[in-house]
């Protein structure tokens, strides 16, 4: 089924898109893993409140543990992966930890504290695997085709996230029991882990890893990567979080609250459809151009929200923003990073961006409380346009 690619000896499949086998394998792993994790996410509120009888306040405490765990482990895991030059091992540990959490959840019984610990461990597994996985993708494709490689991966990943809730409610409907959802989710996660072990190949760089006691400082010593990080973080600060976008849409359109969970599906569908074409476009036109295009779509989202635009306009634009920026940023960053610290570099970029976005939620929330939703949108939109003046740094 596979033929050898000419460039850099990377194996490519004959799917017409010339997507490296390793990228397809990682995409499959993530599709399956996301089905598994979104199955649990979809039924967790029902399980906690109906089956365990937790009150809303106790549920809020369990939920709050999600935050923060991911960031710390992402950096630590990335450092380990680079030091050992064993990205597959570290990512595999992350997948295995999350899989084990599926069975630990029903075993935790009715204790909110234990359930919180299991949820945090699941997040930790996700934090551990993200950067080594993205480093593997960036090392598995020809540098000129990285945009497409990340596009394929992200499209498959999001497809899994869309299928997860469907699978969960199908199992719940067939069995009427939450533990069946957890057991099926565990089986799906094991399958993902098995595909990972069997089909994903570790990539070790030829150059010996440079032992650096302060990898972050060494990485940011590179001017191009530093500017890329700064641009991404600055844009993160003016990116209004999805939750606000959906809340505004719901208010503007007068949608019933129960329909709120449907809005992210529209964004995800657009993301799935656009990730590959925009990744390929990024490879052809340059990643900077597509990255800018994505952020212009974000400005359009703000504009549409401020003008009470319809959801059928806002959701595809938001999907376009993610399709044009998420994988494309990784594709731009990968080649800038030195051998031996690629995982740490990507982790640093992802963590910085995530922290900036968290801070932006606080800022926008405060602006909304003080001045209403629209002035904050205008300020954030102006911020995006100002940051885009730095777009040349993203190549």
């Amino acid at each position: 089924m596979y033929i050898s690619g000419v460039k850099s000896g990377v194996k490519v499949s004959r799917l017409g898109l010339a997507v490296p086998a390793n990228v397809l394998a990682l995409g499959t792993v993530n599709l399956v893993t996301d089905v598994s994790s979104e199955m649990v996410t979809a039924v967790l509120p029902f399980y906690l409140v109906l089956s365990l009888g937790l009150s809303p306040l106790a549920f809020g405490l369990v939920d709050g543990l999600y935050v923060g765990v991911t960031a710390v482990l992402r950096l630590a895991g990335a450092r380990l992966a680079d030091r050992l030059q064993r990205r597959k091992l570290v990512a595999g540990l992350g997948y295995a930890l999350s899989a084990a959490c599926r069975l630990a959840l029903p075993a935790a019984g009715g204790s909110a504290a234990l359930i919180g610990a299991v949820v945090a461990a699941d997040r930790a597994g996700k934090g551990l695997r993200t950067a080594p996985r993205d480093a593997l993708i960036s090392l598995s494709a020809d540098p000129g085709r990285l945009g497409q490689a990340f596009g394929v991966h992200r499209a498959m990943d999001t497809t899994g996230a869309l299928l997860g809730p469907l699978a969960a409610f199908a199992v719940l409907g067939a069995s009427g029991a939450y533990d069946a959802v957890f057991v099926v989710s565990f089986a799906v996660a094991l399958l993902g882990l098995l595909v990972f072990v069997l089909y994903v190949r570790d990539r070790r760089e030829v150059a010996p890893p440079r032992a650096s006691s302060r990898p972050a400082r060494a990485l940011l010593g590179d001017a191009r990567f530093r500017r890329l990080c700064l641009t991404a973080c600055a844009l993160g600060l003016v990116t209004v979080s999805d939750a606000f976008v959906y809340l505004l849409l719901q208010r503007n359109a007068g949608l019933a609250t129960e329909h709120l969970p449907l809005l992210p599906l529209g964004t995800a569908a657009a993301y799935v459809l656009l990730a590959v074409p925009l990744g390929r476009l990024a490879d052809r036109l340059g990643r900077g151009a597509v990255f800018v295009l994505g952020h212009l779509a974000l400005v359009a989202v703000y504009g549409a929200l401020a003008a009470s635009g319809p959801f059928w306009l806002v959701l595809p634009l938001l999907g376009l923003f993610y399709a044009a920026t998420d994988g494309v940023l990784m594709a731009a960053a990968g080649p800038l990073l030195p051998a031996g610290s690629r995982t740490s570099g990507l982790a640093l970029l992802q963590t910085g961006q995530a922290l900036a976005r968290m801070f932006s939620s606080v800022l926008y929330g405060a602006a909304w409380a003080a001045f209403g939703p629209v002035p904050g949108l205008i300020a954030m939109g102006a911020g995006v346009l100002a940051c885009l003046s730095l777009w040349r740094e993203v190549r």
Partner: protein, 300 residues
């Protein structure tokens, strides 16, 4: 090739195991036979069976249940991408007479002592902008007029003598006074919970004190039992004498996360773990087991 075989075997084993676990009929089927429950017969203790979800002695399946004087309320969850709850009003023979569709997951259900007023709380995820928060909808139904208040969060609220405004108010856990108009409930706003006293007829509410959730009023209307958060983070049941404002911790020392119901004039009952327990409402004595593998205790 070998990888393919391993994967195929794994798919068959895992798929077979998952399908078997999902479809294996080890879950008890609903008991056959007619309903022997008469909600109008006073003094009968009813509980919801954890394994089947049925109100014991009946064929009615509920996620939350409460009843008094010939009226029952049964909250049934409809899980899905758009979670909804059916609030069913039941007559004395447990037959549904009315259905209200609500957005959210069932959390609390109550019927006033006379059987006239019904209240429910559902729990809504996903409409909050910061991940760690939640939101609740508490509604009321007057069976005499048929009026439904889908959410009481618009009720004018007084705090420290002044009208209180905040977009983040969440109400839950209503209990009714014998006059079928006054009620007590929890309100949460800006990270704190308060006990409020409301009036359905006059449509206003005021904050009574901080840190008291899921109140339950004694049949004589003189005492409230609620759960109070201790510094360790656990909830402990407390009783409040409404005349003297004296607060007494009950003899149940475990972390209880339930809205208690009154078993008699001096005893409350509640779900703890997988069982229903009772404890004197004056701080004396100790908890005793009422029913195993059960929840939603209610006295007709």
């Amino acid at each position: 090739m070998r990888r393919g075989v391993i994967l195929l075997v794994a798919v068959l084993v895992l798929g077979g195991g998952a399908a078997g676990y999902t479809l294996w009929p080890d879950r008890p089927a609903p008991a056959a036979g007619g309903s022997a429950v008469d909600l109008a017969r006073p003094g009968r203790l009813l509980v919801r069976d954890l394994a089947t979800g049925l109100v014991r002695g009946s064929r009615t399946r509920c996620d939350r249940f409460a009843a008094a004087r010939g009226t029952g309320v049964c909250l049934v969850a409809r899980p899905g991408a758009v979670p909804t709850t059916h609030a069913l009003v039941l007559d004395r023979a447990m037959r549904p007479t009315r259905r209200v569709t609500l957005a959210g997951i069932p959390s609390r259900a109550r019927v006033s002592g006379s059987g006239r007023m019904i209240s429910w709380t559902v729990f809504v995820t996903g409409d909050s902008y910061n991940g760690g928060a939640f939101s609740t909808r508490t509604g009321l139904l007057d069976t005499r007029t048929g009026n439904v208040t889908v959410s009481i969060e618009e009720i004018p609220l007084l705090k420290d003598g002044r009208r209180y405004h905040s977009a983040d108010v969440n109400y839950w856990g209503v209990t009714f006074a014998p006059d079928d108009s006054r009620f007590y409930a929890t309100v949460a706003t800006r990270g704190k919970t308060y006990l409020v006293e409301g009036d359905y007829a006059r449509w206003q509410a005021r904050v009574l004190r901080e840190n008291a959730e899921c109140p339950s009023l004694s049949p004589d209307g003189g005492r409230l039992v609620y759960k109070k958060r201790t510094p360790s983070g656990a909830w402990r049941l407390h009783a409040l004498d409404l005349a003297t404002h004296r607060e007494t911790p009950l003899a149940e020392t475990a972390d209880v996360d339930d809205q208690v119901a009154w078993l008699d004039a001096g005893t409350v009952m509640y779900g703890k773990g997988r069982d229903v327990w009772a404890v004197p409402a004056d701080g004396s004595g100790g908890p005793r087991l009422l029913a195993t593998e059960a929840s939603s205790p209610t006295l007709t």
